[in-house]
Symmetry: C2
Subunit: 436 residues, 2 copies
């Protein structure tokens, strides 16, 4: 049997501790599956004294992850430190430059420095695996990077933030407000004390930026992502969606259009009969639409220590199965130096259906004025629902669902309606997304 | 750049023609992704003169696929002939013995001879890839064989036959009989003139047998699969399922139990709120439940020339990315010689919920007699629905949904009820399956 694969693990939080535990508990299975042992021979973390509920055995302790990354004691450096810069970046770069394979779960790092790190890995002929960085335990990186070779991706989209999906699921199931659901999510440990990063879409954007590069062979560009969070979604939206046969999900969507690549993160109406609409709670789902396959949807746990560790271990096992002289495919599917510059499509040119919810004064001519603004902007309507507001008799709710139209037209029409002075509150506009 | 990978393709039906076309149309992308060209240098098919709508270019023609398999002109033999024995078996075996990598879409072949062929591949140090053999374009083999390394699988189940799922979907959506939906499926080319192989579950069983081996590290044993088809599913079942919050799917299920491994293919009630219940029409879906991940669900096109070709090309690309000296993981996740003998769990020991639909004479005491038979067999009931049959006033329908119980108890109870003489028609029993 080949020699053991020596692995160093930096970062012993929930995921790191689970990786160490699983490598120990599953040592004999992994050895049989990989044809060699996977040995966690070295670790690094901030606090040496903390009880993590794991036995570090004979693993060598490094105070400095960069020193661990460069150590000749290891062949694989597993980075579970987190953060887009700082010691995570320094140690991953050091490991690659020293000719070590790297496995990381760090979406922020890859979103910002992925292409540069991929170039180093490819130059040194080592692997940079990052399955755990996007949608936790769901094998979306392996699928896009390996299984879909030769496919042209038209669109990739998904539910990639468990916090937001938990909140939206609870809002619909229990009729609670966004704020109450957020509080519950915080109590259950699904949301941070400062939830901005999750609920405003930043976390989804990081993950989406990586999938975009894999999908379209372009450089990663998280800064070019159009982003709207879920904090302004109300019960009125949830109920109206349900009435019209839709469900609201926070989606990250990347698609190729004539003018470039659209990357967007926003609350989205998906048909309630679609598979992705049934993805509830903290579960994640990623759909990939290609020329040869049509739509492929992967659903599963997007976070959690063991689920994330599963992806990390799958990445390490792939390295263990390879042998010296082996060259894997490129880090982002295409050689890093050949990744195309990112060409951003303008959000105003986005074509799609729109849900528009308006609260209007209950007076003659309002409806006609709204209809005229839509017609003037060449927007054709799929459905119109009008409700009296029982609690506030002077107001009415008008809900419009458009056929495919341009974002610019919708903005113009809604601006016009606002200027007409018929609205009692800010208009709500939610994009509709096709889904199988 | 490395030399081109020379590929020989045997079988030029829909899938084979699509593979040739895609390798030509996507040559430049595949070369960039794999770091070398993939060249279809040789082909074999029964009829040399048939117009397949593809340009075979300079590919060498072989009348005999076995000769192609052994030719030193190729490094990879792609078997798309079909059939569990005969020339498919002979050519795959010849290719492996001659040291060629093999890619196949042939589930019947693997279901019957997979372990033996894997042993040859592993001995010769070549790859045997078969993503297209199960669930078409869905990367379930790659996921189970690679991404889930170290995971203990508890259960794998799925919708793996598009014909059956199309029929069941139409029966529910349009209120049509099984026979009418089958006729439509035949008209649309979703079902064969002799549909037995699909609708009685044989096709699903072949696929399931392969997943069982990957899941549990055991030898393939399709003969040990319990099988019931969908031909006796009626509108009464579909409507009752819907009323009780379920939907009927033909599932293949493999799970570990205390007494061994259960492999079963049968119509199944899944909760209508589960993701898999939303998988409609010819779409396939496979769920894998593991200790680290929980439930992972992959959904996508399970058949069709291009979708199947996508899986074949992904397999070939994996070989192109590898280099001499590279050893992949074992064919079925564990080395073929270490696969455990298959230990069959008895179907009578199956534990689960059951849906039981009885048509009874409308007379005093029937209901009490049924309830007594259930109680006598320690079966506790989750719900009971009783309907008068408007068209036949002397009959009533009784629908029972049980809590988890043993198959043996259900059989005994239903046999007892039948012997009591209260039934006007054969009882219908459908198993219920948990699904996320």
């Amino acid at each position: 049997m080949a020699e053991a694969l020596r692995v160093g693990i930096a970062g012993l939080g929930t995921v790191g501790a689970s990786v160490v535990r699983m490598l120990q508990n599953k040592a004999s299975e992994l050895t049989r599956q990989c044809g060699r042992q996977i040995a966690p021979v070295a670790v690094s973390a901030r606090d040496r004294t903390r009880d993590r509920g794991i036995d570090l055995g004979n693993a060598q302790w490094f105070d400095d992850p960069v020193t661990l990354a460069q150590s000749s004691e290891i062949e694989v450096f597993v980075e579970l430190i987190g953060g887009e810069d700082g010691v995570a970046l320094a140690s991953v770069r050091a490991a690659l430059e020293a000719g070590r394979h790297v496995v990381t779960a760090n979406k922020a790092l890859l979103s910002k420095h992925g292409v540069q790190l991929a170039a180093i890995a490819e130059k040194r002929g080592v692997l940079l695996n990052y399955e755990a960085a996007v949608a936790g335990g769901i094998p979306v990186i392996k699928t896009m990077r390996e299984a879909l070779a030769g496919n042209h991706v038209n669109r990739v989209f998904g539910i990639m933030n468990g916090t937001c999906n938990y909140i939206l699921t609870r809002m619909e199931a229990d009729g609670l407000s966004f704020e109450d659901c957020l509080k519950d999510a915080q109590k259950l440990g699904y949301a941070e004390a400062d939830p901005t990063f999750d609920i405003e879409g930043h976390d989804t954007a990081h993950k989406l930026s990586i999938l975009t590069s894999l999908a379209f062979g372009c450089r990663i560009s998280a800064d070019d992502i159009y982003m709207e969070g879920i904090s302004n979604i109300t019960q009125a939206d949830i109920r109206a969606a349900s009435e019209l046969g839709y469900r609201i999900k926070l989606l990250g969507v990347a698609q190729k259009t004539e003018s470039g690549i659209e990357q967007r993160v926003h609350p989205t109406m998906v048909p309630v009969s679609s598979v992705i609409a049934q993805v509830h709670g903290v579960t994640n789902a990623v759909a990939v639409e290609t020329d040869m396959l049509g739509e492929l949807l992967l659903t599963g746990p997007g976070a959690g220590g063991d689920a994330t560790a599963s992806a990390v271990i799958g990445d390490v096992a792939d390295i263990a199965k390879s042998r010296p002289g082996f060259q894997h495919g490129p880090v982002f599917g295409w050689p890093a130096r050949e990744l195309a510059p990112y060409k951003r499509a303008r959000m105003r040119a986005h074509a799609g259906g729109y849900f528009i919810r308006l609260t209007v004064h209950d007076r003659t001519g309002v409806f006609a004025a709204i209809a005229k603004r839509m017609a003037d902007n060449d927007i054709s309507l799929e459905s119109i629902v009008q409700h009296g507001d029982a609690s506030e008799e002077a107001h009415k709710t008008v809900i419009l669902v458009t056929h495919e139209t341009m974002e610019a037209s919708v903005r113009k029409a809604v601006d016009g309606i606002t200027r007409d002075g018929h609205l009692t509150t800010k208009p709500q506009v939610i994009r509709i997304e096709r889904a199988a």
